[in-house]
Amino acid sequence: MSILDSIYNTVLEGKRHEIEGLVKRALEEGFSATDIIEKALRPAMDEVGLRFSQAEFFLPDLILAAEATKRAISYLKPLLGERDVVSQQETVVIGTVQGDLHDIGKNLVIATLEGTGYRVVDLGVDVAPERFVEAVREHNPAVVGFSALLSTTMVNIPRTIAALEEAGLREGRLVAVGGAPVTQRNADEWQAEIYAPDAGTAARIVTEKLAARRQCV
């Protein structure tokens, strides 16, 4: 089994304490940081997300795999050159909308996004539309993510999207929505480009949509 396969399997098995040793070995064997991320870590996280969506993996598997990948990426990041594709990975600004203090789902999405190599700006919970506007202005993210747990608070998602539009910050970036009561139908209604039915699929869908957008540009 190649070292990249070992890294892939270690992420799938959630063995976060073993990941750094394997990454070091891969580097010693001549693999670049980009190779390790693109050929082992990201495919592993995609697989974990897929298995979670298909109910083969459970919450702890997702948390452990994301943690393992995050550790590996932290180790590799200083080794990446500025022009490296992974270094240019887009930023995602994410938060739970105003009126809602729920953060478990959002934190899981952040873990998988970071595990996949995205730079994530977490605005926390109960985030007012104006705070989203400020953060988007400051970080210029490719994706803005909104989370809500309750049907009573998800109405603040379209309100926040409207605030971005009013500030002239909606265009040129993708809007992602999710949370227990949110459906694809809501996403379509709010013209959100990304809807993730669960935390496991969020990172994969973000990657796919960003890739599709790059092709269009």
Binding site: F58, L59, P60, L101, H102, L150, T152, T153, A180
Partner: protein
């Protein structure tokens, strides 16, 4: 209210059994005079506020919908449990607050942030939990989880149980109130008329109780990183459930023991059922065997979400009743009956969302579960709490239609 449906079915049947007889026969799949049904509902405080603008004029309903059984003249399941959680409770302490939220330590020792208004209808943010290590747990268990019968079974509780006057407010609420406030809501006339439930709410179980101490993410990781801690916590819970329930039995008999787990979300179990079984099965088995040795035949469990993969383990361990079968999480009580037959008594499973539009949609939903009423071992009720978008007229219409279909009105 549309009552044109009354031309189509069900004639009113005579009452010949006590509520308790009816309940026990239902649980045993035996014929009954009329189906046992309660108007009990978890009513959000915000729901009650809305209902008061829509014609509801009765007493405060509270989270457990106190007063509804009398209003609709239906059955009741009296609660006789005490509190299975931390005693003495942690002192309520506000750490910081702003205009809209407050950060505080609750009675279970959890540091949480909550909105000041409508706190019950929005989920709090859990910031820190009292247990992270085995040492934390041993300290917590020694200080808060011991039997401590004097505090866990105060005189007020003893009196109320003796008089058969505990309703859906036992456990934590009773301990926290610590006076006769709840007693005033009672209208029970005979102890033997109503079946009795001992519900180890929030602390009677092997996942939910552990999550209360550690938080979901830490608990999930501990199954892999710290199995010794998990094993110790489960062992302690099993010991304490038996010890506290033994104490309850010194004061009263009861018909059903009830676990609380809430260990699934809308798609699946929160944890791999195979992993959970590895740790928890023997503890369920030990408690269930003990309950049966004390004559408790009916053992139920409360878990929201999609519990499909957890049901086989629970049944194998000796649990024979489940609630609430949330339809929006994919639970279908007809399929569950098809799979498990008479090995499982089903409570709940009526989609609360059908009450939002009400009318024909609500009636179709009630009609859907009627084959189970015929089959027995089924208690028709909503698949969890009543949110504020269900209007008071629609709720009344639902209860009246349910009664009609059951031959009770």
């Amino acid at each position: 209210m549309d009552t044109s449906y009354k031309t189509i079915t069900a004639e009113k049947r005579s009452i010949t059994m006590t509520s308790r007889e009816r309940f026990l026969r239902t649980l045993e799949f035996q014929p009954v005079d009329v189906p046992w049904v309660r108007a009990y509902a978890f009513v959000w405080p915000e729901t009650e506020l809305v209902w008061r603008t829509q014609g509801y004029e009765g007493p405060t309903l509270g989270w457990h919908g106190e007063g509804l059984p009398q209003r609709f003249d239906l059955d009741e399941l009296l609660r006789v449990d005490s509190w299975y959680g931390p005693v003495p409770p942690f002192e309520y302490k506000v750490i910081e607050e702003d205009e809209r939220t407050k950060l505080y330590i609750n009675h279970e020792g959890i540091l949480m942030r909550e909105f000041k208004e409508h706190a019950d209808t929005s989920m709090p943010q859990f910031v820190k939990f009292p247990v992270e290590t085995l040492e934390d747990f041993e300290k917590f268990a020694a200080e808060r989880l011991a039997l401590n019968a004097e505090e866990r079974f105060p005189k007020t509780w003893q009196e109320q149980v003796k008089r058969g006057k505990l309703r859906g407010v036992a456990g934590a609420a009773n301990l926290a109130v610590g006076d006769d406030e709840k007693d005033t809501k009672s209208t029970a006339t005979s102890v033997d008329e109503h079946p009795r439930l001992c519900w180890a709410d929030r602390w009677g179980g092997f996942f939910g109780a552990l999550r209360n101490m550690m938080g979901l993410e830490n608990l999930c990781l501990a199954f892999y990183d710290n199995p010794t801690l998990i094993e110790r916590m489960m062992e302690e819970r099993a010991d304490r459930i038996i010890e506290i329930t033994e104490e309850v039995l010194k004061y009263t008999e009861f018909d059903v023991f009830w676990y609380w787990e809430d260990m699934a979300y809308n798609h699946d179990s929160l944890i791999d059922p195979r992993l959970f079984r590895k740790f928890a099965f023997k503890h369920y088995r030990r408690v269930n065997d003990w309950l049966r040795s004390r004559g408790i035949k009916h053992i139920g469990l409360d878990s929201d979400g999609n519990i499909t993969k957890l049901i086989p383990m629970w049944i194998e361990s000796g649990i024979n009743m489940l609630w609430p079968f949330e339809v929006q999480s994919g639970m279908d009580v007809l399929k569950v009956r098809q799979t498990y037959g008479h090995d499982l008594v089903i409570m709940g499973g009526i989609d609360k969302r059908a009450l939002v539009p009400g009318g024909e949609m609500m009636r179709r939903e009630v009609d859907r579960v009627m084959p189970l009423v015929e089959d027995g071992g089924y208690i028709p009720e909503l698949d969890h709490s009543v949110p504020p978008d269900i209007s008071w007229p629609n709720f009344c219409e639902y209860v009246e239609y349910l009664k009609y279909r059951l031959g009770r009105g």
